[in-house]
């Protein structure tokens, strides 16, 4: 199932690489870059919304999000380290409320 979609993706990339150096492609990229950034931001908010707990516990969860956000933007600490660290922290302190929905469990 993945192979046909991956083939189409690779072919689209190959086709784009032919015109990637053209001024029109650069202009299009000037629009696509902030759009992909915005889409990433939108998906991140959906992901966080699914993982947030209710009530006062949400403050701790939001603090974890803010910490990861600040670490990536303001430091050179490895993103892998952030994920492993927060996952460990989560296993110790964030598991008191089990996920009750597939969304919460998956995200």
């Amino acid at each position: 199932m993945m192979v046909p979609a991956a083939t189409i993706t690779a072919l689209m990339t190959a086709a784009y690489s032919v015109i990637a150096d053209q001024p029109l492609a650069h202009a299009a990229l000037a629009g696509m870059a902030p759009a992909t950034g915005g889409m990433t931001l939108g998906l991140a908010i959906v992901l966080v919304r699914g993982a947030l707990r209710h009530g006062s516990r949400a403050i701790v969860d939001i603090a974890v999000v803010a910490l990861a956000f600040a670490v990536l933007l303001l430091t050179n600490v490895s993103s892998v380290g952030v994920i492993v660290g927060t996952a460990t922290f989560g296993a110790l302190f964030l598991g008191r409320e089990r996920p009750t929905s597939p969304e919460g469990a998956a995200e």
Binding site: V46, F69, R96
Partner: protein, 171 residues
């Protein structure tokens, strides 16, 4: 970057990622920060991944193609498919443990961190450090974030509309 190293980086970042875009901050740190690919190539891969068929995560195939041609695309496909293929049988074996409270916390911690890292990546793509974004680019970023959050519009439409706006205003 040689193919084996590329494959190992892609496997590592895919294994630690939650969701199709979860590997984006990790790959950006491993590949863009080290100069293997540019931010522009990353954006192109994300845009093509959104325009193409299949799951979100296939943007990695586009990135792999940009780094090493068809071989890179194939390596990226295998690398991004491998972790789920390993984890799925493992979940059947360790089902009771996966439903435990500590594991729920582990997943929540990883999801929250991934969310924060993705937020930071999104912001830095809209407002690239060291270069000033135009007012219309900031508006495009905000609109794309809102439309994606609402989920009412197909991502391909957002990408095409933003490319057209770039053609109109970005020259």
């Amino acid at each position: 970057m040689d193919p084996l190293t590329l494959f190992l980086v892609l496997v590592k970042d895919s294994a630690l990622a939650l969701g199709g875009l979860g590997s984006l901050p990790l790959l950006r740190q491993d590949l863009v920060a080290t100069g293997v690919v540019s931010d522009a190539q990353l954006v192109e891969a994300l845009a093509i991944g959104r325009l193409s068929t299949g799951p979100n995560g296939l943007w990695i195939v586009s990135l792999g193609y940009q780094m090493a041609g068809p071989v890179g695309a194939a390596l990226a496909l295998v690398a991004s498919s491998l972790p789920p293929l390993v984890i799925l049988p493992a979940t059947a074996v360790a089902r009771r443990w996966l439903l435990s409270v500590p594991f729920a916390g582990l997943v929540r911690g990883a999801a929250l961190a991934t969310g924060g890292l993705l937020c930071a990546t999104g912001v830095s793509l809209v407002l690239p450090p060291g270069s000033a974004a135009s007012w219309w680019q900031v508006l495009v970023g905000i609109a794309a974030a809102v439309l994606t959050y609402q989920g009412r519009l197909h991502p391909a439409i957002v990408v095409i509309a933003s490319a057209l706006l770039g053609l109109l205003l970005g020259r």
